[in-house]
Each structure stands twice: as structure tokens, then as C-alpha cells.
């Protein structure tokens, strides 16, 4: 089930909210768990057993680590269970493909469908047992609370990767208020608008950009970067918003990453919950930057290979991870101090490299990555522009402009400033109206997707 669907917004969500706010506090987690399992079941009915099994095993292992003297043994068992589960479901066919390529063998692919959200709930479970081992928190009081933490539907299938200690208090007892609920509504509506009104529309535009020319070679990766940002940050906004409606406060997952001045800064702003997960559970245990230069570089390469690999079982994701490992190493070694002395160049440098990174991210065939990059720098014999590309720019100019502005904190800053002036009253009136308009527009776009004219006698 998707947040950006009519079934979720108009049926699942109101039903949940009605029951959730009617029942007594002590049963709220049970209701949340039931609805979270229903949410997962509707999208992935057969694999719900994997999710439940993962919850039970990690709950038991967490308790064993906490209570038992063989902490390390149970921790290793827990890590192995989670990593093997992820490897089997996400990477088996990738390994078979590579073995076949390297050894010229002919091992058949296995019919394995990756359970939705497995990368996210496995990482949450791993963080949970590691933090118990590190005595950062105690195990969950009961299986219901633990399963509610892992299965909590706002963050179950696409993050953010929430740490147990961040929402432990909320899991046990949380306050709901009009303030929190309306904040959640606003956040959810903004996320929904990012996804439906921007990301999906840019996705359609990308499908229509067929001609190959210099202009389109830049436009496509720029649009893809914007699409990915609005899609992913939109989902995170919806998750955070839903969390707030239910009384949870999740940490931020994006902080305007496309305005970053360096690649190092970009990764402090993009998918924060994932990069901080890798930092806390891989980079720092390897020694982080408190080791020699060479070891530090090794650590960076290990973490970024894994980050790339986490995104998908495909070579372009590994190349994408290595690409960032190289850039971050170069910045760390010498480039950052030079960049700090410039103003415009560092933004230009970062923007171009981010755009190229998402070109790699989006291009599954490695050989095509080189072609696309060559096109961007006119190293292939291509025209400068075409009528088709100009048409799409003209037709989508306002959309692209809105997207770029919305990827920066300009609007937020203007509203914050106006809120301190006599305009505050006007903003207070306009704010609810704006959210209603956004909800109506999102509904209109979701409904229009279903329009499917019967073309039997069209021509």
C-alpha cells in the first residue's frame, strides 16, 4: 500500500484514526500494530511471515543479549540472521549473475521476490540489537511494543530508519494534541504534494524526453535528481507527518540536500537516517577518522561500497557508492580547504557532481553511464538541442522553476520572516486554505491517473 494512493488517504487512514483515537491509551499500540500489519499485508501478503519472524527472532535475541552473559555470541547470531536474511532476499540473483559472468557458468536464477521494506526493517532490527549490546537502551518491555517499533507503518517500507532509543518514550507513552496532529497533517500534505504534484509529474516528463542532444543530456539527470529528491523526501515527510498524527516524533531524514556546498555536506543532508546508521554501526566501529589516513580512507571505501550496495542489487549502485567514496576521500584529503575559499565554484562543483551521481544511480547498464556522461560534455557527436526538448522545457518551465525553488529553503525562510511581521494574520488565514488546495490537487492528480479511455474505435 502506498501513502500516495486513494485507498490509503481516504479509507485506511480515516479508519485507523477513528479507532486509534477512540480506544483507551493502553491499547493504542495494539491497534497500531494491527493496522501496520494490515498495511504490510495488503502490499505484500505472502511475505508478512518474514516480517513477523524477523520481529520475533530479534525480540528474543535482544532479550538474550541483555540478560545473558554470552552477549557477544547472541549479538553475532543476531547480526548473522539479519544479514543472511537480507542477502538471500535481496542479493541472491545478483550473486548468481556475477558468478555466471566470472566463471562462465550457467547457474539458474532463483524465483525470489524481495519483500517490501526488508532493507529498512532489517537495519532497524540490527540497530536495536547492537544498541542493546552497547547498553544504549534496554530491550522493549513486551513483544507488542517491539513489533510496533519495527512494523510501525509510517516508516516500515521506506524509512526513515528510526532508532529504538529515539522513540522509546513515545512507544511507552505518547501525547497527542491538536498542535501535533495539525503539524502532522501539514507535513503529510507537503510530502504528498512533493510526491504527487512534483516527483510523479517529473517522472512523466522524463518518459517523454526521447531526443538525445546536449540540452536533454543535462536536463534529464537534473530532472531525475529533482524527481528522486521530491519522491524520497516526500515519502519521509509523509512518514514524519503520519508519525506526528499518531503522537510519534521521528528525526528528520532530509535537510535541503540540493543546496549543499560540498559532497560531505550533501551526505549530512541526504537520507540522514541511513548515513548516520552506517556511521554509527560500520564507520565508527572500524575506527572512523581516529585512525591513520590510510585506514580512514579504507573505512570510507568500505562504508560507501556498502551504502551503494544497500540501495540495490545492481552494479550501478556499487559504482555510485564508490563514486562518493572517491569524492569524499578527495574532499577529506585536500579539496575541502580549497573549496571553502570559493563561493560560487563550490556550489557549481557540488551540483554538477550530484547530478552526475544520480545519472549513475539511474543508469542500470554500466556502459551507458559513460555514453551519458560523454553526451553531457559534448564528447559524442550530438546536436545541441531539438524541437522536442525545447517543447518540453517550455511546457514544463513553471513546474521546473517551482521544483528548483522548493528544493531550497527560500519559501520556508520567507514565511518564517513574514510570520514575524504584520503579515502573520494573513498567513494564519492562508495556511489552512493552502493545505486544502494541495490535498484537492493531489487527489485530482491521483484520480486522473486512473483515466483509461477505451481506444477500440479511436481511429
Amino acid at each position: 500500500m502506498l501513502f500516495s494512493s486513494i485507498s490509503f488517504i481516504y479509507y485506511f487512514l480515516p479508519l485507523l484514526l477513528i479507532i486509534y483515537f477512540i480506544i483507551p491509551k493502553k491499547h493504542k499500540n495494539k491497534v497500531l500494530l494491527l493496522f501496520s500489519l494490515l498495511f504490510y499485508f495488503l502490499g505484500e501478503p505472502k511475505y508478512i511471515i518474514i516480517l513477523i519472524l524477523s520481529c520475533l527472532i530479534n525480540y528474543i535475541i535482544g532479550n538474550l543479549i541483555y540478560k545473558n552473559k554470552y552477549k557477544k555470541v547472541y549479538l553475532i547470531i543476531g547480526i548473522l540472521y539479519n544479514v543472511i536474511q537480507l542477502l538471500i532476499f535481496k542479493y541472491t540473483n545478483f550473486f548468481i549473475e556475477n558468478i555466471n559472468n566470472i566463471f562462465n557458468s550457467n547457474i539458474s536464477y532463483l524465483y525470489i521476490i524481495m519483500p517490501i521494506g526488508i532493507s529498512f526493517f532489517t537495519f532497524q532490527a540490527l540497530g536495536y540489537i547492537i544498541d542493546i549490546y552497547r547498553i544504549k537502551h534496554k530491550p522493549a518491555k513486551n513483544i507488542i511494543d517491539f513489533m510496533t517499533y519495527i512494523c510501525l507503518f509510517p516508516q516500515l517500507i521506506a524509512g526513515p530508519i528510526v532508532r529504538y532509543y529515539d522513540i522509546e518514550k513515545d512507544l511507552i507513552s505518547r501525547e497527542t494534541s491538536y498542535e501535533k496532529f495539525s503539524e502532522g497533517i501539514k507535513r503529510f500534505t507537503i510530502g504528498l504534494s512533493k510526491k504527487v504534484l512534483i516527483a510523479n509529474v517529473i517522472g512523466e516528463l522524463l518518459k517523454n524526453l526521447i531526443d538525445v542532444n546536449l540540452l536533454s543530456s543535462w536536463l534529464k539527470p537534473i530532472l531525475y535528481t529533482l524527481q528522486l529528491y521530491f519522491d524520497f523526501s516526500g515519502y519521509s515527510d509523509m512518514a514524519i507527518g503520519l508519525g506526528l498524527m499518531l503522537g510519534f516524533r521521528f528525526l528528520e531524514n532530509f535537510n535541503y540536500p540540493l543546496i549543499s556546498a560540498t559532497i560531505t555536506e550533501f551526505w549530512r543532508r541526504w537520507h540522514i537516517s541511513l548515513s548516520s546508521w552506517f556511521k554509527d554501526y560500520i564507520y565508527i566501529p572500524l575506527g572512523g577518522n581516529r585512525v591513520g589516513k590510510l585506514k580512514n580512507l579504507r573505512n570510507i571505501f568500505i562504508v560507501w561500497c556498502l551504502t551503494g550496495f544497500w540501495h540495490g542489487a545492481s552494479r550501478n549502485f556499487i559504482i555510485w557508492g564508490l563514486y562518493f567514496a572517491i569524492l569524499l576521500s578527495i574532499e577529506k584529503l585536500f579539496l575541502k580547504k580549497y573549496l571553502d575559499k570559493t563561493k560560487i565554484i563550490k556550489y557549481l562543483y557540488t551540483s554538477v557532481l550530484i547530478i552526475i551521481s544520480f545519472l549513475i544511480f539511474n543508469t542500470t547498464k554500466a556502459s551507458n553511464i559513460i555514453i551519458e556522461i560523454k553526451n553531457m560534455f559534448l564528447l559524442n557527436n550530438i546536436p545541441l538541442y531539438s524541437k522536442e526538448t525545447l517543447y518540453h522545457i517550455k511546457s514544463n518551465f513553471i513546474l521546473i522553476f517551482i521544483s528548483i525553488i522548493s528544493a531550497t529553503p527560500i519559501c520556508k525562510n520567507i514565511i518564517n520572516k513574514l510570520n514575524k511581521t504584520k503579515w502573520k494574520k494573513t498567513i494564519n488565514i492562508l495556511e489552512p486554505i493552502t493545505y486544502v488546495i494541495l490535498l484537492i490537487l493531489c487527489t485530482a492528480f491521483l484520480i486522473d491517473e486512473s483515466f483509461n479511455p477505451f481506444l477500440y474505435f479511436r481511429f
Partner: protein, 354 residues
């Protein structure tokens, strides 16, 4: 206070529409889409269930058409987009882009014509006329067009007697809300065909029968509200007495199926819409000539204006019948043969059966 307002508006809005969605009876059909809507899916443990459920809920969502209008308005007026779902609005006319040029389809179309031509008898007089779709005449430099020159060059290279209709038609010869040409404007096409086929054109009187509530196929797709337009079907004594045999609809024996004026697609008034094989017999004819038209739906409205010059016209739509089947129904011998297709089919020809 503001928080309370936002909470009540949001919850109220989604609750109202979810309740309305449940209590309003489901519609069976969507007139704008010309299709049946989905029914509530029976529960099954499968990944597709939620997709089916979502499709059902969206298709039966209260005020669905109004929401589509809101989206179209937002795209045209707020985002200033040139099109919405490939639909262009220009001078009160609705156009649908068929861009880009599908070169594979053009090759396939040529192969198809070669194949059919190889089945004909040497005594047949063979012609080809490709009707430009109305996008050809759009007066907007921004509009993305398929490569019409390429299409017409390729058609010319087939080697049949090619009748070029591009300079004869203009944008007003097509319905504002539909893809098709208007029957009442087609006498000039009959004249041009006659210049090449020499069937003896004469000015003819027709009575204009006007149905004034016609919304074409693009109206529904555009989601923009507008007034209906007229659809006209031409009759005279000769047309009224033409005997028609439809392969599929045995109950009908007339050129026009008036009942279709109130159906999904009023254009189906002409020769009952989609039909694989039709024979028209003109008992008033003094000529012994016969005409065979391999065709798409554009031929349905021009055929009534051609029957005057022939004893018999046979219409074959290869989208619904292949050559093995129509060869059992017809014998090629000395007839005029006209391949009459629109560029829409040429650019999207994979539905033609060999």
C-alpha cells in the same frame, strides 16, 4: 485555534469523501472513457489485490470527473503547460498528440500493404489515399508533430496510385472534439478521388440530418467542460435504399445506425462503427463497377458518398479480420481497390492483421 481548524478541515474532508465513496452507488460505465468501470474485487491473497482495490476505489471516487477537470485546469492555467495528458486546446478545438514518429510502425504498414496487394488480381485498379490526421493542420509552432513528409514519401514509394489529400483538407473539416473528419465536408474528397479513380463524379443533393449533442472521444480525455457540437449524417433516396450486409451485426441492413447517436460514440452512426467486413449494394446503380476499400474508421463516413458511383462497395478493416478470413468472403476480379487509412493508423499500425 489554527491547529484545530486545520485538523477539522483535513479530517472532515477525507471523512466526507470516504463516506460518500461508500454510500454513493457504483456507476457501471464511464461515458468519457467509453468503457465499463471495475467492480469491487473479491479478496484474494495476492500482491495484485491492493492494486485492483485501489483501481476500484479511484474509478468510483465521488466527483471523479470534476477532480479530473481540476487537474486539467491546474496544468493549463497554473502551470501554463502546453498539454495535459497529450491533449492540446487550440482555438476551441481539442487535439491529441500522436508524437513521436513510429518508424517501425510505418515499415510494418508498408509491409502490410505489400502483403494485401500481393493477394489482388492484376485486373484490379489499385489506389492508396492516406488521410492526414487533424494534428497535421494545427496552427501552433510549439506543437510536436510526427514526420508527415517522411510518412507520405514512404507511402509514395509503395508504388501504388497515390492520392495525396493533404492540400484538400483543413482543420475545419474535422470535429472539434473528435479525431474524425466531418461527413458534410467530404464532397471535395470524393472529387479528388474521382480525379484519380474516374468513377464519374456528379454534384449530388443530400439532406443534412443533424444531431446536436455530439461529444467526441477527445472531449472526455480533455476533462475540460464545453458545449457539444453537431454531427451530421447525409441521406437521400439512393442512400436510404442501399442494402448493407454486416458480418457481425446481422440485424442491421442500413448505412446509418441511428441508435448509435445515443451510444458511447455517436460517430458509430456511420456504418455501425467498428466492423470487420461490410458489403453495400446499390440497387439504383447503372454502373457495374465495384469498389473494395481496405480501411479504418475514417472510411465509414465517406463510403455513403461513394456508393452512388458503384454497384457494390466492400469494406475490409484488417484490424478485425485477417487475409485468410476475408479471402473466403471475396473474390478479387476487376474491382477498384482503395487503401484508405489515416496517418494515425500508419503511425500505429501493429493492430493490422496480415
Amino acid at each position: 485555534m489554527k491547529d484545530k481548524i486545520i485538523t477539522y478541515i483535513f479530517v472532515g474532508y477525507i471523512l466526507i469523501f470516504s463516506i460518500l465513496g461508500i454510500i454513493i452507488p457504483d456507476k457501471e460505465i464511464s461515458i468519457n472513457e467509453r468503457r465499463k468501470l471495475s467492480i469491487f474485487p473479491q479478496f484474494k491473497i495476492s500482491n495484485e489485490y491492493i492494486t485492483k482495490l485501489d483501481t476500484y476505489l479511484v474509478e468510483h471516487f465521488p466527483l471523479r470527473e470534476n477532480y479530473r477537470t481540476i487537474k486539467a485546469f491546474y496544468n493549463y492555467k497554473v502551470l501554463n503547460k502546453l498539454d495535459n495528458n497529450n491533449i492540446y486546446l487550440k482555438d476551441n478545438k481539442i487535439y491529441k498528440s500522436n508524437y513521436p514518429t513510429n518508424y517501425n510502425s510505418i515499415d510494418y504498414f508498408k509491409e502490410h500493404i505489400y502483403k494485401i496487394n500481393s493477394l489482388l488480381n492484376t485486373s484490379n485498379n489499385t489506389y492508396i489515399a492516406i488521410i492526414p490526421d487533424k494534428n497535421y493542420y494545427i496552427k501552433d509552432k510549439n506543437f510536436l508533430q510526427i514526420d508527415y513528409d517522411y510518412i507520405y514519401n514512404e507511402i509514395n514509394n509503395i508504388g501504388l496510385n497515390n492520392i495525396d489529400l493533404r492540400t484538400v483538407l483543413n482543420e475545419n473539416d474535422y470535429y472539434e472534439t473528435d479525431t474524425h473528419w466531418k461527413q458534410e465536408n467530404l464532397s471535395k474528397i470524393v472529387k479528388v478521388l474521382n480525379e484519380n479513380m474516374s468513377f464519374g463524379y456528379k454534384d449530388t443533393y443530400y439532406k443534412e440530418n443533424i444531431y446536436n449533442n455530439f461529444y467526441g472521444v477527445y472531449y472526455g480525455e480533455s476533462a475540460i467542460k464545453r458545449k457539444p457540437e453537431n454531427i451530421t449524417y447525409l441521406t437521400n433516396e439512393m442512400i436510404d435504399n442501399v442494402e448493407v450486409k454486416y458480418l457481425e451485426n446481422k440485424n442491421l441492413n442500413k448505412i446509418y445506425n441511428i441508435e448509435n447517436l445515443n451510444s458511447f460514440d455517436p460517430y458509430e452512426v456511420y456504418l455501425d462503427g467498428a466492423s470487420s467486413y461490410i458489403e453495400l449494394y446499390n440497387n439504383y446503380s447503372t454502373s457495374d463497377k465495384e469498389l473494395i476499400i481496405f480501411r479504418d474508421s475514417f472510411a465509414s463516413s465517406i463510403t455513403p458518398l461513394l456508393i452512388k458511383y458503384y454497384k457494390k462497395i466492400t469494406l475490409i478493416d484488417n484490424r478485425y479480420i485477417n487475409s485468410n478470413n476475408f479471402m473466403n468472403l471475396i473474390e478479387f476480379n476487376n474491382q477498384d481497390v482503395l487503401f484508405l487509412y489515416s496517418t494515425l493508423i500508419v503511425n500505429n499500425s501493429l493492430s493490422l492483421k496480415n
